[in-house]
């Protein structure tokens, strides 16, 4: 091959790389169209009540395929029925109340909002609110920084919304009292099962803690509550070992 065709070939390859990269970045920035959103099964409409879970949506650790050493620890914290042994302390949590977020999957959000920028799952617990953004434009995870709720990408598999989340702080729990150590992958599968009814299949993949993936199913009922209250932890009197009863000035 002469020099000129070699140069042309290399230029062509370089252009192809540049163009494919540009196309990929364009895909990441893609706004969804309302027409495609209109075809999605309707999970919007208000707060969903979730039925199941040991603590929030955290599974009972004794039902999970925990590594033996971790299971041994959990057996010291829970009785045979999966109830915490309160006399030995609270499982996996400090003895004082903090305002640390629950994290996924303890709380997933209870309302769905469909937007051109993706799906937002919002909700409020007794000390925090969340607004998870589920990217629906086909992007990948792209090495996310750790957070309490992770980096979520979603897509539809038929009538099922599938959300894959990675990128967690080490203390975020995958089971009640079981920190995932930051390597967990959480897969949520939401599917309407009837008017005002849905189902969540939650799969936890965590080689650091589990011997195999664990799936738990929760039933969901749509309530007539569509509140999205503001809630910030600004007056926590439970952060020490004694309740702070200092009267306000």
């Amino acid at each position: 091959m002469s020099l000129m065709p070699k140069i042309l070939a290399r230029v062509t390859v370089a252009l192809a790389v540049i163009v494919s990269g540009w196309l990929a970045s364009s895909a990441q920035a893609r706004q969804l169209s309302w027409s495609e959103i209109a075809k999605w099964p309707d999970l919007e409409g208000g707060n969903w009540e979730f039925i199941g879970g040991a603590m929030g949506l955290l599974p009972n650790p004794l039902k999970m395929p925990l590594k033996p050493a971790i299971m041994a620890v959990m057996r010291t914290k829970f009785d045979a029925h999966g109830k915490p042994k309160w006399n030995v302390g609270l499982p996996g949590y400090s003895q004082t109340g903090t305002c640390e977020p629950e994290g996924l999957p303890s709380f997933t959000g209870t309302q769905f909002f469909y937007t051109r920028a993706g799906i937002f799952m919002v909700g409020d617990t007794d000390y925090s609110t969340i607004d998870r953004r589920i990217y629906m434009d086909g992007r990948g995870h792209d090495d996310p920084d750790p957070t309490f709720y992770g980096n979520s990408i979603g897509h539809w598999e038929g009538d099922t919304l599938v959300i894959d989340t990675v990128g967690f702080f080490a203390q975020v729990q995958v089971g009640w009292g079981v920190p995932g150590q930051g390597k967990q992958e959480i897969i949520e599968r939401y599917r309407l099962t009837g008017p005002g009814k849905a189902e969540l299949k939650l799969t936890i993949i965590d080689p650091a803690v589990l011997t195999k993936p664990y799936t738990e199913t929760y039933q969901m009922v749509l309530t007539d509550d569509d509140e999205t209250p503001e809630l910030f932890c600004t007056n926590n009197r439970d952060a020490t070992t004694t309740v702070d009863l200092t009267p306000p000035q």
């Binding site: 949590y93 409020d124 007794d126 209250p229 309740v243 009863l245 306000p248």
Partner: protein, 149 residues
Amino acid sequence: MRVKFILAALAGGVGIASAHHSAGAFDQSKTLTVHGTVKVFQWTNPHVWLWVDVPSKNGTVTEWGFEAGPTNFLKRGGVHWDSLKAGDVVTVKFHPIRDGRAGGTFLGATLADGSTVANGPKFGKPGGPAPAPGGGVLPIGGTGPAPQS
């Protein structure tokens, strides 16, 4: 060691059992009442707090503090930031704090006109939250030691 239990009634998330601490500091087996005057009704999170000046027979006044649920939970139960005001004369029902100080878990208040302010929705009532899965007792939030693998 402080181990507190929060009733599921304090779970603000709809149908989600969650709480930022337990409630073992309060004696759930005892329900007491005090009568006094509201000093301030703190519409705050993670708990709403009611502060009441309670006079004693010898004329001294003690300020009591009562820990209620979070604002979102009370609001869903029809309680609002101005449901109790400074100067309101109330009888407060509560579970006392175990260490004997002037405080407790707020269960409800009755005003002079007979109206009541409850600590959120009642279970089993339309629009009220579901009991916590597996029972009405919830643990605390926070960070604990990671199990060793």
